[in-house]
């Protein structure tokens, strides 16, 4: 069986490309750099592969700029599956695909800085902005949920303006709490669970990304838009004390 259509541990080269992920997966990469277009392409391609119901495919997911197909490692015609994927890739301009339906906009209250965001000052300095400008930039720009990954329900959100292209830290922060807002490389994450991180910890929300016992266990979907509503530490404590839903005081509107 030929696997020539699978790029061998591809680095660079033309996109989109199909790469093998061990024996049990295929990754369709739309870029090796984060862009809105590549992210939309990955989401739209995933939706289309799901509609097609291709044989051998067991599960689908997306990362920032790729569509992952978990496949049966003993599926006898991986080359044929790759050819089907290639035909689908060639059938339209995936980078021009629209965003998914059913998107929502969430305004999520967060304490920024202070003891709830000990690396905020550091992040502001790295951005080169004055602190009031930085706060405005953080809270007036909407970010989009680009992908859910790493931990249950955990969103990677972007992109922030270019001044937030600040690197990850070389030293890990040993532990930030669930609900922590962190920033790096023009992206925000709100952590699903307590975790060590190399991203700068700039704030804290009471928003729960993963609600295992709820009817809707995952609070966000790729394509949802998020804005950060700055609140005081007192407001945060009040929300935390009163919120039973997990929404942490977020205001939610349906977009499309």
């Amino acid at each position: 069986m030929s696997e020539t259509t699978i790029t061998d541990a591809a680095v660079g080269g033309a996109f989109p490309q199909i790469a093998a992920v061990g024996l049990g997966g295929l990754l369709v990469r739309f870029s090796d750099q984060l862009s809105e277009a590549a992210n939309r392409a990955a989401l739209a391609f995933r939706a289309e592969v799901a509609l097609q119901g291709l044989a051998g495919v067991q599960e689908l997911s997306t990362s920032l700029t790729g569509t992952f197909l978990r496949i049966d490692p003993l599926y006898p015609d991986v080359a044929g599956l790759c050819a089907q994927l290639q035909r689908l890739l060639d059938s339209r301009d995936w980078y021009a695909a629209p965003l998914p339906q059913g998107r929502r906009h969430l305004r999520i209250p967060c304490v920024i800085g202070g003891s709830h965001g000990p690396q905020w000052g550091d992040a502001v300095a790295a951005s080169g902005l004055a602190e009031d400008q930085a706060l405005a930039s953080l809270t007036e720009n909407r970010v989009r949920v680009l992908t859910i990954g790493f931990a249950p329900g955990q969103p990677y959100m972007g992109q922030l303006p270019p001044e937030w292209n600040i690197p990850r830290l070389s030293q890990l922060t040993p532990q930030v709490p669930a609900g922590a807002l962190v920033i790096a490389i023009r992206q925000l994450i709100i952590f699903s669970a307590a975790t060590p991180t190399g991203w700068r910890h700039i704030g804290q929300s009471a928003f729960r990304l993963f609600r295992p016992d709820a009817a809707r266990p995952f609070a966000l979907n790729p394509g949802d838009e998020v804005s950060i509503r700055p609140i005081t530490a007192e407001e945060y404590e009040n929300i935390r004390a009163q919120d039973r839903s997990g929404d942490g005081g977020a205001q939610i509107e349906v977009l499309a």
């Binding site: 990754l27 599960e59 992952f68 990954g149 931990a151 329900g153 991180t197």
Partner: protein, 357 residues
């Protein structure tokens, strides 16, 4: 024979005891890793010993054991890393099935020769499924470790009566060779490093848990090109992730679903139990195989699992075999040290570096 409820009481539990099945699938897109038993071979062995499905949930123990009791007679089987096992006052064999009589404590402790041990129950653990599975991933918020006082409901045992069976475990303990195929970033490593990766031995570091284990190279660390600029991509169990210090982690079933560290290769799924069961200090080696060789290995491993039910044999009460079956229980004379409060400490299980990238 007593007819109390079909449930198992946890009288004492060391750290790292959890309910596991063969994994939770279908939620990768929501950031939920498969989890499930670190040693799925043990799940198949335990099921074969009880004549039931390997999909039924069991109890996984990471180094330390626990003690258990039921209000009715239960069938149990014991697989994975051998522990000292006692039903009431009687030592019982590992890799075997037994009758656990009502109200008689089952005491398990001190795994040797491996990391993960399993207690399987006739009918399986029937706790309420979470997102369609019973696998526990406590760090991700899916279930929690078991603790004294927990009561686990059990499923209907269709084969009551079939006990005192034994099985020779499939080989996977003590480290050894791991077959790997290229991963997404294999091309970022130089040819010389790839060659060296497959030439040198690695030692299983004490740092490790159900997410992954660190393996120390006998020699210099491994560096890839563009290590800090890789976009976060999908991660699968078996991926060999090169963290910032150039020392690899082999990722296991609880691994995060995405990551930005370069991965030099992916261990075949059928060789992952060998990683999970390698004790700190065990020597592991890596060898690239072609995709076709990898698939042949997977087929062979599946056939070996499928053959397990036919390999089950009666547990012979031959005194000449007993020391062997009870292995170190008698050899080491540790049976008397099995009170729950004396259970040996768990395997050191610190968290590997989990960094959102």
């Amino acid at each position: 024979m007593s007819h109390g409820p079909a449930e198992l009481q946890v009288l004492a539990a060391g750290p790292g005891i959890s309910v596991q099945d063969l994994g939770r699938f279908g939620y990768l897109g929501q950031g939920v890793s498969a989890s499930g038993a670190a040693d799925p071979v043990a799940m198949h062995e335990g099921a074969a010993l009880l004549g039931q499905s390997p999909d039924l949930a069991a109890i996984e123990m990471a180094g330390a054991g626990g003690s258990f009791r039921a209000a009715r007679d239960l069938r149990i089987s014991l697989t994975g890393a051998p522990m000292a096992a006692r039903i009431g006052d009687s030592p019982v064999a590992w890799n075997a099935s037994h009758l656990l009589p009502a109200d008689v404590p089952l005491v398990l402790g001190g795994a040797r020769g491996g990391v993960y041990s399993y207690l399987h129950l006739g009918g399986g653990v029937a706790s309420p499924p979470l997102l369609g599975a019973r696998a526990t991933n406590a760090a991700a918020g899916l279930g929690r470790a078991l603790a004294a006082g927990d009561v686990l409901p059990l499923g209907l045992d269709a084969k009551a009566g079939m006990v005192n069976q034994r099985l020779d475990p499939l080989p996977r303990f003590g480290g050894g060779l791991l077959r790997i195929v290229p991963s997404l970033q294999t091309g970022l490593f130089g040819a010389a490093d790839l060659k060296r990766f497959c030439a040198i031995p690695f030692t299983r570091d004490p740092r490790g848990n159900r997410m992954g284990v660190k393996v120390l190279p006998d020699g210099a660390p491994f560096r890839s090109e563009g290590q800090l600029t890789i976009l976060s991509e999908i991660i699968v169990p078996g991926d060999i992730q090169m963290t910032g210090d150039g020392v690899p982690y082999v990722l296991l079933n609880d691994c995060q679903t995405t990551g930005g560290y370069p991965r030099i290769g992916t261990v075949l799924p059928c060789d992952l139990p060998r990683v999970a069961q390698a004790l700190p200090g065990a020597v592991l080696r890596f060898a690239f195989v072609s995709a076709d060789e990898g698939r042949a290995a997977l087929r062979q491993a599946q056939a070996a699992l499928a053959a397990l039910p036919r390999a089950v044999a009666p547990l012979v009460r031959d005194p000449h075999q007993m020391p062997d079956l009870l292995s170190y229980n008698l050899v080491d004379g540790v049976v008397s040290a099995l009170a729950p409060e004396d259970l040996p400490d768990a395997q050191p299980q610190p968290t590997p570096e989990r960094e959102a990238r």
